[in-house]
Each structure stands twice: as C-alpha cells, then as structure tokens.
Symmetry: C2
Subunit: 164 residues, 2 copies
DNA sequence: CTTGACTCTGTAGTCGGCTACAGGGTCTAT
DNA sequence: ATAGACCCTGTAGCCGACTACAGAGTCAAG
C-alpha cells in the first residue's frame, strides 16, 4: 500500500512521512473538505504548516482517521469522538467513557427497535386492512381518514432527547 | 372567495365556523408557526383573509390537519402529503398513490430493521468482547482500535437513496 | 387612550455530517 | 513563462420539519 514517494515531497518542508491534505485524503478515503471540517470540529488538532500555509500532516493522522471511522461505525457522534480524543490528550484513559457510550447506544437502539417494530406492525396491519377495503372516498383519501393508526405512531421519528 | 368579515369577528367566528389562526392552533394542537409553515408548503391552500389581513379558516381545516397528522404517523413526508392533497384537488382519487407510498415505506422499513438488527448484534458483540478485555491502551482507546467492527457498519445511518 | 393579546411578513436558526463553491495563492513540470 | 494541479480561507447549502424572532399592524376591553 506504500506509494511511490516523489522526490519533490522528499525535499519539501520536512522529511518523509509528512503528508499534504490531498495525500491524506487519498490514503484515508476521506474528502479534503471533510478533513478540514474535522479539524474545525476539533477532531484533528492543528496540523503543522509549511511556510506558505499548507497543512502538513504526520503520518499518524491516518491512525486517527481510522479511529474516527471505527468510532463512527460504532455509533459515536463527532462530538463524542472529539470529547474522547481530548480526554486522551489530557492524559486520561477514555476507555470507560467509550464503554459507556456504546452501552448507551445499545440501550437506545433497543428502544428504537421496539418502536420501529411496533410501527412496522401498524403499517402492515393498515395495508392489509386497506387491501380488503378498496378505495374509500373521503375529504382526501378515506383510507387514511378511516385508518385506526394512532397518533402516537409519531414515535417512529426523532427519539432524541429533549424537545416537543 | 370568502365573504367580507367586518368587526366583531368573534361573534361571527364561533357560530359560522370561521377560525383565526390561534384558535386553529388551539383546537388542532399544532403551533401557529407550524400552520403558517404548512401553508407555505402547500398543505393548506390559501385561507381567506379579513380586510386587515388576518387568516380566517373554515372549520374544515381541522379535518385537513387531522389528515396531515395521520399521514405523518404513517410515515408520509410533507412533500408526499402535499402531492396527495393536490391530486385530490385536481379531481383524482389519490388512494392508489397512498397505498403505494405505504407499501414503499414498509419495504424501506424492513430493510432498515435488518440493518439495525445487524448493527445491534455487532454492538452487543463488541461490548461483550470489551467486557472480557479490560482497558486496552492504544493511540486513543485500544478498545476501539482493536475491535472487529466493520466499516460497513456505517450502514446503520442514512439509508435514503443516492449518494456515496 | 392605553394595554395587552393577537396577528402579520420575512428571515434565520436548529440538528449532524458533510459538501460545494468563490476567489484567491503556491508549487511543479514543460 | 505558463499551464495546471494543488492548496488556502470563508461562506453557504443540503436534508426535513419545524421553531424563533424582529418589527410592525390590529383589535376589543377597561
């Protein structure tokens, strides 16, 4: 997976192992705009700069990006990832926090699955009911107006905390 | 369109079934701002106006709002609801369209449930693995860095069509 | 006449995670 | 010298369904 190092890069700024943003993007599969966005979100710290202002990344940024991808895959938000990284950089071990987040996600997910399954049953029931009914006249569509669906079904949406 | 409504709307309003927006909001449980938003989205048509510009709704707007709530509970987007309403107003019967949307929702939902269940299994497996591991050192948190989670788990997010 | 409840329009903010410019500057190969 | 690839900052847009003003006008009661 090692790329050919052009001599231009060898003599630029620092010795090898320093990557410009485009190279980081290629190697990580994460878009340039996204990398800059992550930086603004506090996920990448402040990379070094050449004299002309170009970002020069140490190769270990790739590990960091890999970490971010994995954490995202586990359901971590960027804000959570940022917190974990900054804890680590403050010298703490973030593992218990990490465990906590995943545990919380799992509980939320179970809750969510229950809601969606309830919702699925309702949808399926409604469809079955409709298949036996044919078109029903109404103000707009009698099928909807007459269906037994509960308003509480709104639950199938945003189950984040707060609001309403 | 609507007859001129002069002073003493209050007395007109109640017996004749004309409602100001605040009254509609109270009776439907939908916020005033949201009612105006729905109007902009083409869900409510253009209500009559008093000479001073106040919206005056016919009582049947409440049925319309009830319809919107039910349709939302069934998973319809506001755009879909708007289309269905305009079809009806163009003289067509939107019921088959309605059936189609629900059928589509159900299929999407099944797909989604599969993804989330896969994701749930992964999360649970990861957590179990971690409980046996204790804290693991790493660049940030070895638990994440060493976990067997697949990047494809990103699937648990946005399953809308298109992109990426 | 004043108060206070109500309404109007128009615009912008929210949430998350990007993505897309515009309008520059820098670097490298020919 | 110049083309073209690359990089910079800063800002705005996207998705959906709201929600929140600001600043102005309206209306009935006391």
């Amino acid at each position: 997976m090692s790329r050919a190092i052009k001599k231009s890069e060898e003599r630029d700024a620092k010795p090898r192992g320093w990557l410009k943003i485009g190279e980081v993007s290629r190697q990580s599969g994460i878009g340039i705009e996204t990398l800059r966005f992550y930086e603004r979100q506090g996920l990448l710290g402040s990379p070094g700069r050449t004299m002309s202002g170009y970002r020069m990344y140490d190769a270990d940024v790739l590990d960091r990006l890999e970490f971010i991808k994995r954490a995202q895959a586990l359901g971590f938000s960027l804000a959570e990832i940022a917190r974990i990284i900054s804890e680590k950089e403050a010298g703490q071990n973030p593992c218990s926090e990490v465990r906590e987040v995943v545990r919380r996600r799992l509980n939320e997910l179970d809750e969510r699955l229950k809601q969606l399954q309830r919702y699925r049953r309702e949808l399926a029931a409604v469809l079955k009911e409709w298949d036996e009914a044919g078109d029903v006249e109404g103000h707009i569509c009698g099928l909807i107006e007459g269906s037994k669906v509960r308003h509480s079904s709104q639950e199938h949406k945003r189950f984040k905390k707060g609001k309403r």
